[in-house]
């Protein structure tokens, strides 16, 4: 963690320009010590003084003194204050507990003496390509060498061929080369050998897998919801989309636009929708009783922060609670960006299979066939059927009632948006709470009403197809009607009995640990009430009518009035939906009848109308309905019903979907960033210091996404280039990949960063071209050896006088071991897999326990990208090697070096499997010790062993043999040692 600018860089900066550099030296001091009270935050501002703007700083503060007098430090109040020893005068004030160092004071004094000139922050104006310092060399080398020359350093020689092929193969594909691949390169003496290798690697499908993993750190991808329950989720199609997009070299601007706003693109394809999974990787709190809107707010906070880190290189998160202390981002700017992202629903999308239309037609044909065949299944055939149908109609008709559909004149709710559809059904959408009330007002007076019918039906726009709005924690797509009341003014209209068509659903508390207990208790209490329609009339909020969700779900409840009731104009129906999760109703229709016998017949409304004589009889429809309920063909009818419910559906994944214009979501500012302190509405927008959004486009996600990639946007390309650089060199030009703001260190190679940023855009945002450019530079190809001179002059390799040596990512280490052992599977895509790990990792200490059953066969050895990621109990090996858990957006992983890593590589079952496989392979590959040793070492570190190494390794083999260790175990042990070598897990 280099917290300070290295002395070398500072020295270089000073050498480059004799004057004090405002951006590199002065602004960080002002930001650190002054801006909190003398910056852009009006609320926090003291003494009416701003030191972030030249005009203000050169003027008078409240005290009447001139803060900064250009060229005259002794007349500048700022200098007077920072050098003061009077506790009442000194700045920063003692209570800030951040005294300014003598060095910083001297810098400020020198700066003012030189004129106190403000310069714009380098990252906030669009990058330009400076002329190359040297013609005829690779542009990267031209810049790097110019810088080295300033420091009196020379570049290192090229790495040896084995190191080179290993390095570039690991970097571009995340998998080490096989000895054969390495030899092919080493033996290829053609001048284009290296370029050919690079092009082969860029074209490999492994490339997309390698670079997808890095992107998924930013996307905070995981396969579970996080928090207490931490249930599995299905969003791996998004992960696979990322791999596919990177392999196809989808231009980086399109790559970003699709992820932020693919749903808003004209003629959005299924892939465009899948891409919006980026911001669906936020966590979901399904703990009993959590406030869903509070956690949705936290998801939005996460989205703004991740957008800032991934694309903008700004610590947007700092402005959640107040105006940014350092960067020019107002508190309201933060919510302006949130508003841009906030107008979306979060549905599950079923990805249509390529032959979706054919599947649908096929399914419809099957249903039609089954329907056509049903009469023939009746005992005695079609001839016996008609009299039975007649008898059935005669029996059912008296139970049927004439119903009149009601259309509310006014629909008011605590949160969801309700709209009446042409068929009289009311469709709900938008957000909901744990306790929603629907107030439906009717303006047509009705006489002698005996009952109200509530039909609920599925709808494709609802979670799990509805009919309810439950989208987390409870049964998805279900609802729970706690209470139903009818009122006229303050007069309660009394209900009597109630009936429903569905079985009384056992309530399910989804709490994994509590469930068995709850069930046992339920059994013990025979008197326990069930959830049924009557329970919606009992005045007890914790009981009610419950319907579970799912495609084809249709149920009806009938609520009888205590006596025939006149409903005057303006009468209202109040529905309360209350549970420890939000459970409101999303698709329903209301009807009334004057029939005193009205009940829930279970027949579809159209059939009941025919039976009641309210509609002309459709003989075919009635006959089909008879057959659906006739015991004689129950098995066939059941099969038909099942067929109807089983529609062809594609693979589900989580996406964003812009809300309908009728129900936009407004965004407000939250005082101090607290959910319980909402304040005024904030319109969508971006911080004023950046180019504005186009005036002629709606201020929405798509416009914002396109704005990020507009040529005048100073940040996006720089952020991307800086991040790529870090992947190859272990450190970005700016070490804080997520922050190029005022607080960030100055870039080590500002001109090169800008040159590459412009080049990246100029070449169509092609990531493959950028990567090719980097790896073909001599800078990249240098030996990583740390000579004593370099160790002393540039220990951190800031100036790149050598290649960079750093530990590989967790995934690359595991994949490399499997590759060395010949076990690695290259099967791509699909649901997460379960490589072996101790059972206790997911069974102990986590509330949302899962039984980690190690995958068998090829899935055991898939690339680590495909390992199932459980947020609260992540894959142990990955955590030990610093892989993220998907709980936050990560631009830079920590690179630790710990004994637990040693234990993992030595003793973990998976690595032992690799060692055994590699040992066995060596025994099969060669008959002599030297051949076997060489085989093993080359599969782990690519290069052949040096003679002294061969001796060391042979000695180990001999020592084991001397102790009568079985031959197989000797070679396993050697393979195990080789897999543990520093060289096996390090970027060479």
């Amino acid at each position: 963690m280099s917290r300070l600018c290295s002395p070398l860089v500072l020295a270089l900066a000073a050498a480059a320009a004799s004057a004090v550099d405002f951006n590199r030296e002065v602004r960080p001091i002002l930001a650190q010590h002054c801006f909190a009270c003398h910056g852009m935050d009006e609320q926090a501002r003291k003494g009416k003084l701003r030191l972030d703007l030249a005009d203000s700083a050169h003027g008078k503060g409240k005290s009447g003194e001139l803060a900064i007098v250009p060229g005259q430090p002794d007349k500048s109040e700022v200098i007077h204050r920072i050098f003061s020893e009077d506790p009442d005068d000194i700045m920063p004030p003692p209570e800030a507990k951040k005294p300014m160092s003598a060095k910083d004071k001297a810098v400020l004094r020198a700066w003012i003496a030189e004129g106190g000139v403000y310069q714009p922050h380098w990252a906030f104006s669009a990058p330009k390509q400076a002329p190359l310092p040297q013609a005829g060399v690779h542009p990267i080398d031209a810049f790097v060498r110019a810088r080295l020359a300033q420091a009196g350093l020379k570049p290192s020689p090229e790495a040896d061929r084995f190191a080179l092929v290993r390095r570039v193969t690991l970097d571009l594909t995340g998998v080490p080369p096989t000895p054969e691949e390495a030899d092919a390169f080493v033996q290829d003496k053609s001048p284009e050998a290296y370029e050919k290798l690079v092009d082969r690697l860029l074209a490999s499908p492994r490339y997309g897998e390698r670079w997808a993993r890095r992107w998924l750190d930013l996307a905070r991808y995981a396969d579970t919801n996080g928090f207490e329950k931490d249930r599995p989720r299905t969003i791996w199609p998004y992960r696979d989309w990322v791999v596919k997009a990177i392999n196809a070299d989808l231009p980086y601007d399109q790559f970003g636009i699709k992820q932020l706003a693919g749903d808003l693109l004209p003629d959005a394809t299924p892939d465009d929708l899948i891409a919006t999974g980026f911001h669906r990787n936020t966590m979901l709190n399904e703990e009993g009783g959590a406030d869903p809107n509070e956690y949705r707010f936290y998801s939005m906070v996460d989205r703004v922060g991740a957008t800032g880190a991934a694309w903008m290189g700004l610590t947007m998160n700092c402005a959640q609670c107040h105006t940014h202390k350092y960067d020019p981002i107002l508190h309201t700017d933060y919510y302006g960006v949130m508003a841009l992202l906030n107008n979306a629903d979060e549905p599950t999308y079923h990805i249509p299979a390529p032959d979706h239309a054919k599947q649908v037609a096929e399914h419809a044909r099957k249903i039609a066939e089954a329907e056509a065949a049903l009469p023939g299944k009746f005992p005695g055939g079609v001839a016996a059927l008609d009299p039975k149908v007649d008898a059935w109609i005669a029996a059912e008709a008296p139970k049927a009632s004439k119903w009149e559909v009601l259309r509310p004149a006014k629909l008011q709710t605590t949160m969801p948006k309700l709209e009446v559809q042409p068929d009289g059904f009311i469709l709900g959408g938008g957000d909901s709470t744990k306790s929603d009330v629907y107030d439906l007002t009717f303006d047509r007076p009705l006489k002698g009403v005996t009952a109200i019918r509530l039909e609920v039906a599925d709808h494709p726009s609802l979670p799990n197809d509805g009919p309810g709005l439950t989208s987390y924690e409870g049964p998805l797509g279900g609802f729970f009607l706690s209470e139903l009341q009818a009122w006229h003014g303050d007069r309660r209209l009394e209900f009597g009995e109630a009936f429903a068509t569905n079985d009384e659903e056992e309530d399910r508390i989804s709490d994994a640990a509590a469930a068995p207990k709850a069930k046992a208790k339920a059994k013990g209490k025979a008197a326990r009430k069930k959830n049924n329609a009557s329970a919606a009339l009992d005045g007890e909020m914790s009981s009610g009518w419950q319907v579970l969700g799912g495609y084809g779900q249709r149920q009806t409840a009938v609520f009888r009035f205590a006596k025939p009731t006149d409903l005057p104009a303006g009468w209202t129906l109040k529905m309360l939906f209350e549970k420890h999760f939000s459970c409101s109703l999303g698709h329903f229709r209301l009807s009334v009848t004057t029939d005193e016998q009205a009940t829930a017949t279970g027949h579809p409304a159209a059939i009941e109308a025919m039976l009641a004589g309210a509609a002309p009889q459709d003989r075919d429809a009635l006959r089909m309905r008879f057959l659906e309920t006739a015991p004689e063909v129950a098995t066939h009818a059941k099969a038909l019903a099942a067929l109807r419910k089983r529609i062809p559906r594609g693979q589900p994944t989580l996406v964003m979907r812009e809300r309908p214009p009728s129900n936009p979501r407004t965004t407000v500012r939250y005082h101090r960033g607290e959910y319980l302190s909402p304040r005024e509405e904030v319109k969508p927008g971006v911080p004023a210091f950046l180019p504005g959004l186009p005036k002629d486009a709606p201020a929405d996600r798509l416009t914002f996404a396109r704005w990020l990639f507009a040529p005048e946007n100073p940040l996006t390309a720089r952020v991307a280039v800086n991040r790529q650089w870090q992947a190859f060199f272990g450190r970005g030009f700016v070490p804080t990949l997520e922050d190029l703001g005022y607080q960030s260190e100055a870039p080590t190679h500002p001109e090169l960063l800008d040159w590459l940023a412009v080049e990246f855009q100029r070449t169509g945002w092609s990531m493959k071209k950028l990567h090719r450019l980097i790896v073909t530079s001599a800078t990249y190809r240098q030996s990583s050896r740390v000579t004593p001179e370099l160790a002393e002059k540039d220990r951190e390799n800031l100036l790149l006088a050598r290649g960079s040596r750093f530990r590989l990512d967790a995934e690359v280490i595991r994949d490399g071991a499997l590759q060395a052992a010949g076990l690695l599977s290259f099967k791509m895509g699909g649901p997460g897999v379960y490589p072996p790990q101790p059972a206790s990792v997911t069974s102990e200490g986590t509330y949302g326990r899962i039984d980690w059953k190690p995958s068998e066969g090829e899935d055991r050895y898939r690339r680590s990208l495909y390992t199932f990621i459980k947020r609260t109990a992540p894959f142990a090996m990955a955590t030990t090697f610093d892989a993220p858990t998907g709980e936050a957006c990560i631009a830079r992983r920590d690179v630790s070096n710990s004994p637990l890593q040693a234990l993992t590589l030595l003793n973990d079952e998976m690595f032992m499997e690799a060692a055994r496989a590699l040992g066995a392979k060596a025994m099969a590959a060669a008959t002599d010790d030297a051949g076997r040793i060489t085989f093993i070492l080359r599969r782990c570190v690519t290069r052949p062993p040096a003679p002294d190494e061969l001796k060391t390794l042979q000695a180990f083999v001999d020592a084991q043999r001397a102790r009568k260790v079985a031959d197989k175990d000797v070679w396993t042990a050697l393979a195990r040692a080789a897999l543990n070598l520093d060289e096996s897990i390090v970027h060479p």
């Binding site: 729970f480 329970a535 509330y847 630790s896 710990s898 004994p899 030595l906 084991q960 520093d982």
Partner: protein, 473 residues
């Protein structure tokens, strides 16, 4: 990224000599081994900020949230009001997880009596804790901002309700380093149904990942992968580590990367851990009397065994120990819940304090006992969930106790109103608790900061908070 100073020093001073046993030994003594032995002199310069009273912390985390009304906060008034709702003026808009704010009051389910010279009023469910009444400081006025388990547990541990920030144990080991020669310095044990907040509760957040808590497990290896795999005999294991380090030493001399030196030391440490972890777990050296004191069956993972292991860890220099007992979430039958959990935890919690005391370790070990929030004075019942006689989550007021290093025992601080709903005296918020724990370890919570994503973060966050002076010895 993070390269401990010592490797730099190693590189400059020792590299030319090559790595030998002597060099390695000096590395070990310097202890620059990340989490397992972060430099004993303190990772952060200037620490400790003042003379510490405690060297180690044992946090007995009563996950699920115990009912303070059945344990520490006696409210006879609730019995009088049982069955009636609280006035809305008291409830003041508080949100609840399961109940409506107008739910009826539930009286205390257990009897209370005064104990010790200090006269602490404690429930009949915790006779053993009552027996150490004069050693502990009870805080009846704790308050949190979170009313769901996972966020509240993460908040108690990290000062923030969402995953991603460093936990208290990480901050402390980051700040003070380790004194354990061959054990992790931050250990997490769990003996119950599972921790709602999950790994976020012992995460190192944005601190280097080597400061994350190490889980001690109940099945398989206590520390993952400390067991040598089948087919590798002890001699081969020793030779293997020797071979790896010899090869790495050769590479170090060729490439000059100081990280290799750290890796060599880590393999030595890993080898020692394979012995030290099982040694720690081997309770055969504990007397029968000690095992009985805790109520510990050495073979069976339990809260009692975890407490005994915690004492053994403290003896070996472990800095921060979390023991989770999950299961206090009494949405139904609070009386039964409290009875069951007290049966598991009361004796062992008290035994830990007694055992530390008689070994002279209590003065340097801070023991903290408590959950993530409290439970409502109102009853929770639900016909559809089959719940009755329970209590919902109550963030406004709950009780904890602390003992040992830096804490003045034999006192009760803070008070709630007659209903046990709101705090009326000496409010102690979660950041205050954290600041106090840090203080006992010699850390000024305002000065232990870390720069991340443009901000200087600290455990206790940005809101003003204070060390609870009354608690201090």
């Amino acid at each position: 990224m993070s390269r401990p100073n010592v490797t730099r020093r190693y590189f400059f001073q020792e590299c030319a000599l090559g790595v030998g046993k002597i060099a390695l030994a000096s590395l070990m003594a310097d202890g620059a081994l990340g989490r397992l032995a972060a430099a004993g002199s303190g990772q952060v310069s200037g620490l400790p900020h003042h003379a510490p009273k405690a060297k180690a912390v044992i946090h007995l985390f009563m996950a699920g949230a115990p009912s303070q009304l059945e344990l520490f906060d006696h409210k006879p008034e609730l019995a009088k009001l049982e069955g009636k709702p609280l006035p809305p003026s008291i409830i003041n808009g508080q949100r609840y997880a399961f109940i409506r704010p107008d739910a009826a009051v539930l009286g205390p389910r257990y009897k209370f009596a005064r104990h010790g010279q200090s006269g602490a009023e404690l429930s009949e469910m915790i006779p053993h804790i009552a027996s150490i009444a004069d050693d502990i400081a009870i805080v009846k006025s704790c308050r949190t901002t979170q009313f769901n388990h996972a966020p509240a547990q993460i908040y108690m541990n990290t000062g923030f309700s969402q995953p991603g920030r460093p936990s208290m144990g990480s901050w402390i080991t980051y700040g003070l380093g380790s004194e354990a020669k061959d054990l992790p310095s931050f250990v997490v044990m769990s003996t119950g149904a599972g921790i709602s907040g999950g790994a976020a509760c012992w995460s190192s957040g944005f601190l280097p990942s080597s400061y994350a808590g190490t889980r001690f497990r109940n099945t398989g290896d206590a520390i993952l992968n400390t067991g040598t795999p089948a087919g590798i005999d002890p001699a081969t294991q020793k030779d293997t580590i020797g071979l790896i380090n010899a090869m790495n030493d050769r590479r170090l001399r060729l490439d000059g990367d100081s990280e290799i030196a750290t890796r060599i030391a880590n393999y030595e440490m890993a080898y020692r851990l394979q012995t030290s972890a099982p040694d720690l777990m081997d309770l055969s050296t504990e007397s029968k009397e000690t095992l009985e004191l805790y109520g510990c069956d050495p073979k069976v993972p339990s809260f009692a065994r975890a407490c005994l292991l915690a004492r053994r860890m403290v003896e070996r220099g472990v800095r921060f120990i979390n023991i989770y007992n999950e299961g206090w979430d009494a949405h139904s039958d609070v009386a039964g819940n409290v009875r069951n959990n007290c049966a598991k935890t009361d004796k062992a919690s008290a035994a830990l304090v007694k055992d530390l005391k008689r070994r002279g370790l209590l003065d340097s070990t801070l023991v903290v006992w408590g959950g993530e929030f409290g439970r409502t004075p109102m009853v929770e019942s639900s016909v559809s969930l089959g719940r009755s006689q329970g209590r919902d989550h109550h963030p406004q007021a709950f009780s904890m106790w602390m003992a040992g290093g830096g804490i003045k025992g034999g006192q009760t601080i803070g008070a709630t109103d007659e209903m046990g709903f709101n705090i009326v005296q000496d409010e102690v918020r979660v950041p205050d608790l954290q600041a106090t724990i840090l203080h006992c370890l010699g850390i000024d919570h305002e000065r232990l900061t870390f720069r991340n994503a443009g901000l200087d973060f600290r455990l206790t966050g940005v809101e003003p908070c204070h060390v609870v002076k009354k608690l201090l010895a």
